[in-house]
């Protein structure tokens, strides 16, 4: 293992255990001393931590490409050994549009995806999500304890997206394993990443073939029957987009629900407020998203550019540290305090610019319903052992084991 960094401005380590658990002091230091830090670790990257810089770089799609959005340099699967034959791989080597697309492809790829994820469209999934949360709570409420991350938060987004894609919900556990292998554990383990990517890819490939024969009222069928400029959407594109929907929606939303429970377990006054003023919930969700933003994305420098004096070369990686931007005191008063009814909160937890999270309305709905149902049934709860909580970090930060107890 590489030694711990001594100077975070020139040698930060996004996979350092202490940093994953508590990155906030590091960001505070970097924001003041070296607002665009650099490291040689994990393939090398630049890391802005001020809101203005993250905002500016995210919106400058000419100089900063999305063709690779991973925060570490790992081999992107599927590759030549994915067991599906050379030609098919070439044909299917489409990335994960629209998140890995730049304009002009991005424009239509995103437009295709927005209608089924509009606030109105996702409202349709609310009753099912609520029912799911209730069933989960029924399963453990009598025990007086549960793992808020693995027994609850983790179970929600995987089932909702399975429903939307028209895939049996008993696949949800398998999805979660695959997605963690791809996006979380796989970022430092290329073999696991390759195997997980291949499993998702093959599974979705089979689903698409099946849906072509039996179209239904689901997202895969919607994508297969959609047209762009009068032509059907190419099948490889559908595969890439389904891949993205699975990967983008699970770890992320699970992490934000988990972090919200982690906060509420330690703040009885905030629990009481949400119970007594339920109309505060939408604003509170935005504040919890701000304070515990789970997602960091990356950009690849498209041509040599000097950004605020930093000599960035073509091909360099830049980490879009949305979570650090959301704690910048230049924009947010008392950024480390969670103020459920914070008035000024232009947070960028869902990104900013043309790649704004297409699933943001779905994620908000899932968070709100998950917290509403939990607070209704378990209004009084605390962490079993705050020191025992484990966190994942890197691309997506959130609690992974989190014992919660209630009277």
């Amino acid at each position: 293992m590489a030694p711990q960094p001594t100077d975070w401005t020139t040698d930060y380590d996004i996979f350092d255990k202490g940093y994953i658990k508590n990155p906030f002091p590091v960001w505070d230091e970097l924001r003041e001393q070296c607002p665009v830090a650099h490291t040689g670790r994990w393939g090398g990257s630049w890391m802005p931590t001020r809101y203005e810089d993250v905002f500016a770089i995210a919106r400058d799609v000419e100089h900063f490409s999305s063709r690779n959005i991973l925060v570490a340099n790992v081999a992107p699967p599927p590759d030549a050994d994915d067991g599906m034959g050379g030609e098919l791989i070439q044909q299917y080597n489409v990335g994960a549009p629209p998140i890995t697309s730049d304009p002009p492809e991005h424009t239509w790829a995103r437009k295709l995806l927005l209608p089924p994820f509009s606030a109105n469209a996702v409202a349709k999934w609310e009753p099912e999500t609520r029912e799911l949360c209730r069933e989960l709570i029924d399963g453990f409420i009598a025990n007086g304890r549960a793992d808020g991350a693995s027994d609850y938060a983790q179970q929600i987004p995987s089932r909702v997206i399975a429903s939307m894609l028209g895939i049996p919900k008993d696949m949800a556990g398998t999805f979660t394993e695959w997605v963690r292998g791809f996006l979380e554990l796989g970022l430092t383990d290329p073999e696991l990443r390759r195997a997980s990517g291949r499993a998702i890819f093959e599974f979705l490939y089979a689903c698409i073939q099946e849906r072509k024969a039996n179209p239904g009222d689901d997202l895969i069928s919607y994508l297969l029957t959609s047209e762009v400029d009068g032509e059907p959407v190419p099948e490889p594109h559908v595969l890439g987009t389904c891949f993205l929907l699975l990967v983008a929606g699970i770890d992320t939303t699970w992490s934000s629900i988990g972090s919200a429970l982690w906060h509420l377990a330690q703040h009885p006054e905030d629990r009481a407020r949400l119970i007594n003023e339920p109309e505060l919930m939408p604003q509170a969700i935005e504040e919890l998203l701000r304070a515990y933003s789970p997602v960091t994305m990356a950009r690849i420098v498209a041509e040599d550019v000097s950004y605020n004096g930093c000599p960035m070369s073509e091909g360099d990686r830049v980490l879009m540290n949305f979570p650090a931007a959301n704690r910048d005191p230049r924009v947010f008063d008392n950024p480390d305090d969670v103020i459920l009814d914070r008035a000024k909160n232009p947070h960028v937890a869902f990104g900013v610019g043309i790649h704004r999270c297409a699933g943001s309305n779905l994620a908000r709905m899932e968070m709100r319903v998950a917290l509403e149902e939990w607070l209704r049934r378990i209004p009084d709860f605390r962490l079993e052992d705050p020191e025992a909580v484990t966190w994942a970090g890197g691309q997506v930060r959130g609690p992974r084991t989190m014992g919660i107890v209630w009277p």
Partner: protein, 68 residues
């Protein structure tokens, strides 16, 4: 007072609509525009300012009446 959403900047975060559904509407893709001619009644001035302060894209503009 009037509000205006710059369609080139709006990315459909839906924040304005949630904060002030009386002032904004969103289309099927989630992009926002001001309702009607964008006029903001006095009792909603505060809401309009809130929407401006919460839009991550800085897409909302307030046009104050100059004839007071």
């Amino acid at each position: 007072m009037k509000v205006r959403v710059d369609p080139d900047k709006c990315q459909g975060h839906n924040r304005c609509y949630v904060l002030a559904p009386g002032l904004f509407e969103v289309d099927d893709l989630g992009y926002a525009k001001a309702r009607g001619d964008g006029a903001v009644p006095p009792e909603m001035h505060e809401k309009a300012r809130l929407a401006v302060e919460n839009c991550p894209e800085r897409a909302i503009e307030i046009i104050e009446d100059d004839a007071q």
